[in-house]
């Protein structure tokens, strides 16, 4: 299930399973050596689809009207990030496209699912679905998936969408084999999770070194842990930053957090803002107190600089933000 496997092996696996002809509806249960009391996958789908009534769920400020098949679809999208309309119809709706469309329209209306049209190599365009952030929050708050199961929202890596969409088909094939042999699928682990785990275990890939004492020292000025870590990194390597860079560092989206952060910096007199391009702003951290707190009161980043210098510092910070797993060297103070 992982792209971390040898690419050739994985491609072969996809070729073998993902593009195989659809599994016959009756085929789910033919060879399975399971107890008679346990309903077959096919029966479970039929039971789920037979329940057409919607229940009301309250989630903080919002209310959702959902039926079981819609919640199941949300769960599947959360587990796999991207699923194509054809696969969803085939595996989760037993080929009932009309019902799938109804559910998807309803989920989209409630902003729980998003849709995109993609074009794979040598094949016509097809639709794929993904969970929205609200959808993910709903699943978590209603405990509709195991806590150990990772959930994903939104489309990432557009170039890999077609590949990612194939995973669900591959999973169905492998899951049916597991069940046929008497096993159960407890949870799905995608390469995103594996890569994250691998990243934290490889020696090369240590997270960027920001000594804890520095983030604590900056925290005493009223900054949050993430803000303090970013300030420390930026004060060490750049002195200048943009909101987008902060957002990138905290793996978030532009919004309240970044605005609060820059407002805090400006109000406390720790940084100044400089207009850049049309509506952009570049922030310059110049407060001696902040630099002193992290033991860098003698770096030249505090001074005013030319536009070329600012541009190169911003590019350098961008470069560092793209390689946060490495240990960057510091330059001696002046």
């Amino acid at each position: 299930m992982s792209r971390l496997d040898k690419p050739t092996d994985f491609s072969a696996l996809l070729e073998k399973y993902a593009d195989s002809p659809p599994i016959p509806r009756s085929g789910w249960n033919t060879d399975r050596e399971r107890s008679n009391s346990e309903p077959s996958r096919h029966d479970m789908i039929r039971e789920r689809l037979s329940n057409r009534f919607r229940r009301t769920y309250h989630d903080r400020t919002r209310t959702y009207d959902l039926r079981e098949s819609e919640i199941f679809t949300l769960g599947e999208l959360g587990k796999f990030r991207v699923i194509s309309a054809d696969d969803l119809s085939r595996f989760a709706y037993d080929g009932n496209k009309e019902r799938l469309e109804q559910d998807i329209q309803h989920l989209k209306k409630q902003a729980l699912v998003s849709q995109r049209e993609i074009e794979a190599r040598n094949s016509p365009k097809f639709r794929v679905f993904s969970l929205t952030r609200d959808g993910k929050r709903f699943l978590r708050q209603q405990n509709r998936v195991r806590k150990s199961q990772a959930l994903y929202d939104g489309f990432v890596k557009p170039k890999e969408l077609a590949h990612d969409a194939k995973l669900y088909r591959l999973y169905q094939k492998v899951a049916s084999e597991i069940e046929r042999n008497g096993g159960t699928v407890r949870r799905v682990v995608l390469d995103y999770e594996l890569a994250q785990r691998a990243g934290t275990h490889r020696e090369d890939f240590r997270p960027v070194n920001i000594p804890r004492m520095y983030s604590i020292a900056l925290g005493s000025f009223g900054y949050t842990e993430d803000e303090a870590r970013f300030l420390c990194l930026m004060a060490t390597h750049s002195g200048y930053f943009t909101c987008q860079q902060f957002v990138r560092f905290i793996h978030s989206k532009p919004g309240k957090r970044s605005l609060t952060f820059v407002r805090k910096l400006l109000e406390k007199g720790h940084a100044s803002a400089r207009p850049c391009l049309r509506n952009g702003q570049v922030y310059h951290l110049f407060s001696r107190n902040l630099y002193e707190a992290i033991g860098k009161d003698n770096v030249r980043f505090r001074r005013k600089h030319s536009l070329e210098y600012i541009r190169s510092r911003l590019a350098a910070l961008d470069f560092i933000l793209g390689k946060l797993d490495y240990t960057f060297f510091e330059t001696e103070q002046e």
Partner: protein, 165 residues
Amino acid sequence: MKPSRSKVRYFAEQLEIDKKYLPAKRYAGAIREQFTDRYFVDKFPMFLLAKASPPVVSFSFVDPGLESLDSFRTHLQACFRLFCQLSSVRFHYVATRDTYQERARQAFVGFFDHHWNPDGPGGLVDYFCLQKKKDLGKLHELSKADLVALQEGKAKFNRREITNL
């Protein structure tokens, strides 16, 4: 978490490379004839690929967007003596636009080709000939240009792997 390493400390103490090979800038002091050497003043990002054996330092150059590669060439020139002391080097050219990416790559490769061509002027063959003359006590036969070339050759090739050839 380990604290971040300093560039100078890593090269001078851990790799035991003489500070004279590090890219430096000399600043005049307030007192006459006193000066201070500052190393890596450009503050370009540099990181270590610890997993490689031996560890490889990854250097970088951030293009300030001056629409010329002069500053890049100057940077290479400044770092070249240090590059020569390392068994392997990784280099990143960082720019906001990819206009000069290919030219920068050619400049980088060309720079090394020029300095490492054994048969070229100031190459390894020249260096060995001049060094041999020096070892045989024929320093008086060397011209001023030869002495400069010998000095430069020493900075470039004065490594055990090369001198043992």
